[in-house]
Symmetry: D3
Subunit: 193 residues, 6 copies
């Protein structure tokens, strides 16, 4: 695990992702019972970590590690994007507490972050797919943006059929509109917290 080095003056943010066995329709075997981390889970927690680190000034964080735990209690499509959105809220709340406790003078968070999934179902572009749509999707794209709507991460995968440049652009437009709405919801939630 990468982290901060003593004396570097700089910190680290790491994310962990897991699905409870009962979170899915059919029971998902526990990683620890199978003895190793699922490749998919490992990939997802790397994505969440990169996305959140993209908006944090690790130098301003100081020599400490922030752990963002994303445990899925009920899964219905798009859990990696939900983890990034919720992880950002948790990060804000954690930093507020560190500041309230006098452990940080100023916030190391430099921006907001939001993520959404989009996909092509029956030839049509759809936003924030539910599990049933996701499993029938021809293609699937996860888009992570910062508070100014600039791209942090794009991951697009053709499940069954490849997709053309036009369809790709349409999906990306849809995702950017979706993340814009999510950023507003997050700001409202944080103002109310």
């Amino acid at each position: 695990m990468p982290g901060w080095r003593r004396g570097s003056g700089s910190g680290w943010l790491t994310a962990e992702y897991g699905m409870l066995p009962a979170s899915t329709g059919d029971r998902k075997a526990r990683d620890i019972t199978r003895g190793k981390l699922d490749g998919r889970s490992s990939e997802i927690q790397r994505l969440i970590g990169r996305s959140l680190r993209a908006i944090v000034d690790l130098g301003a964080l100081g020599e400490r590690t922030l752990w963002i735990d994303c445990d899925v209690l009920t899964a219905d499509g798009g859990t990696r994007c939900a983890s990034i959105c919720g992880g950002y809220i948790a990060l804000e709340l954690a930093v507020r507490r560190l500041m309230a406790e006098g452990l940080l003078d100023e916030t190391p968070i430099r921006d907001a972050v939001a993520a959404v999934s989009v996909g092509i179902v029956a030839g049509e572009s759809r936003l924030d797919l539910a599990y049933l749509e996701d499993s029938r999707a021809d293609a699937d794209m996860n888009v992570v943006v910062n508070g100014r709507g600039e791209l942090i991460e794009v991951q697009a995968t053709a499940e069954d059929r490849s997709f053309g440049r036009a369809q790709f652009d349409e999906l990306l437009d849809l995702a950017l509109a979706g993340t814009q709405a999510l950023l507003e919801l997050q700001a409202t939630a944080l103002a109310a917290a």
Copy 2:
């Protein structure tokens, strides 16, 4: 590991990716010595597997598994894309041998596949980054296309700075031009083999 089930009539293609300890400038510790597969390696071999399966008809392959081994002897940027390009050539050669040995009547390969990395270095879009460029890049994108130039997989990551939609489009254009050139080189190589 997912695979085919006896009696399903259908097969599987799996890819494995590894870097030799001496393939990089500073020696890379061996996965088996650390006791588990590197998260990055796991992510890469899942990408290679998905990209190659996207052009194979697993039903036409019959009840067998094809293993595509991508072992990096010397690394200089873009090893995951090079693995997809080289893996495709290896796949074609393997299928030709199976057909020559009478184990397959017709090829289960339905298309070509090529991949290339692009990135933003010092504000400028560049194709197929070398390691020194890659380590200085602000953003990095891997693009996988099929023989008709349609998208199979897009993975874009902002390393240090987020990027706007315009820059994203410019990178994708550059990548599509690059994969076009690679598809031609692959066709020439396969014709000569």
Copy 3:
């Protein structure tokens, strides 16, 4: 993992127990990150499994495995006893569903089961310790009973000071009264479900 053998005509019930990293005051490291199941977790899930199997007729269950997942979202003392009580409710609901789906003709559940923790805090016997009490307890006892109030499992541990026979008897009396109340609550809940 023990289980049923094909052709034996008999089934199995297994329990898994885990604490979410955020369930405790100080974050608990994830088992999969440490690479192996915590000794304490392993001990607890063996206890839950034995307690539930004590009231199930595995022959009447038929050749299937029931998995009871006990995932602790918020911990405040006595999680192993809460897991047995909640696990019993989950078991009843699961069997009702199997019967509704026509997969079982009659219930293989032969009795109820309840469990409670008791302890000595500052020289005084207390029922169902909260975490703050538990951490200051001199001794700690977990008692599992069936629907007739007979003992299925007793586990008593002196944390800091040994305890005499009289104190042991007092604790056991207190636990038996507590489980009696829990059995009534469970019956009410199941009647309402």
Copy 4:
């Protein structure tokens, strides 16, 4: 593994338990061949460690770890209790050697400890069950006491049939008589050593 922290001034005692493959009637597979510690072994070595630590003043031990190895060469019922009794003798001998070598000024051992198993076989309470009795027992109880006969640990499990309070009390009486006899045998053995 828990242990002492440098500068704490305090030590630790840990126990390890293992059965040789040939110790049982049917060969027992080696933990290392199966790749992980048996749940039952882990549970037993935690019990042995707690029981021995209950009579040791870890502060008086100083910053060192005592390892008590309990390797079963021939098993015939009650190996966990035999490990506690034998582990106590080994602990006394180890401390005597540390004192003779001038590494400890005074003993950190504050009391004696003994353990015995009791069970119900064919409706009858029996002390220190042999393997054949143990496998036919309806219930099984392990009792650990200190030198004053006070309880350190009680673990009772109904194997096939639950047991009432009266039977439980009878078993506990029997166990307390048994540990009294063991404490005398231990004292005699230590006086002779």
Copy 5:
């Protein structure tokens, strides 16, 4: 683990080697606590297995696996050779039992086997080194022979100083005389058993 295949008509013999933590002067950490088999132990158990298989007709053994467990209770040099000698006796006794139980009609053992260590200590060749000699040895050789005194395995290692051909020959002569004596002792022991 290699083994026999169902329907092959042929069996397998496998050996496992382990040192108890208390078998050595300084306590040896348990393999299972360190989480993996010690490289030295793995090498030794492969040697024992090869040596014993060299005298067994696996076809005549039938479709079964013989496990030879070599657990070192007290170590004082040459444990791998002692394991081969003792393993051979255990193998003979096991086969006698299988024949007495009617599970084998005739013995699959085709020959005897014996092993001894020799070494150069202070410039002098010595037979069957004790631990204190072994740790001061310049070179160390393990020799395994069959009942006719022919070589099955030779493993010679220069610990601190290389050795010339003459010294090698002298060590081998010494070992062959030693194994001759061991073969006679084994025959006497088996006749008496």
Copy 6:
């Protein structure tokens, strides 16, 4: 892993050995996929390490570890001996570089080292067996010598038939002649490098 201790003034040399999946005729499963190091690979890398450490003055190396990676790209018999010969060349080149960079004042290498395999095929002694010969060999011997032709390591194994003293001597003579030729080739290569 053994290594140097801080403040000891002394270093360490370690070797790692691995075969690429495609290095053999039939694909060899990757160690990391099977989750643990192959017993054979572990044995070989211990041999290579011992052989190279035999010619290095670890005190003169200083507090550093040299890693010699032996990755087999194409296997055709005798890969452990080829690894020792090639590892020695790599070691010389690495030390030259450390000296050129001013990190070492003088070479810690005290001698040359070479290794060769010999075997009995169809009753005849052969030098440096190819894979097809090796798989048909009745016996197999690996011999490691230093620059003066003195023995560092001898490992002889009867695969199918034991061998007599005379045959053993003949094989050893053949190996010593072979290593003499290899030492000359190595010296020539190093002079040219």
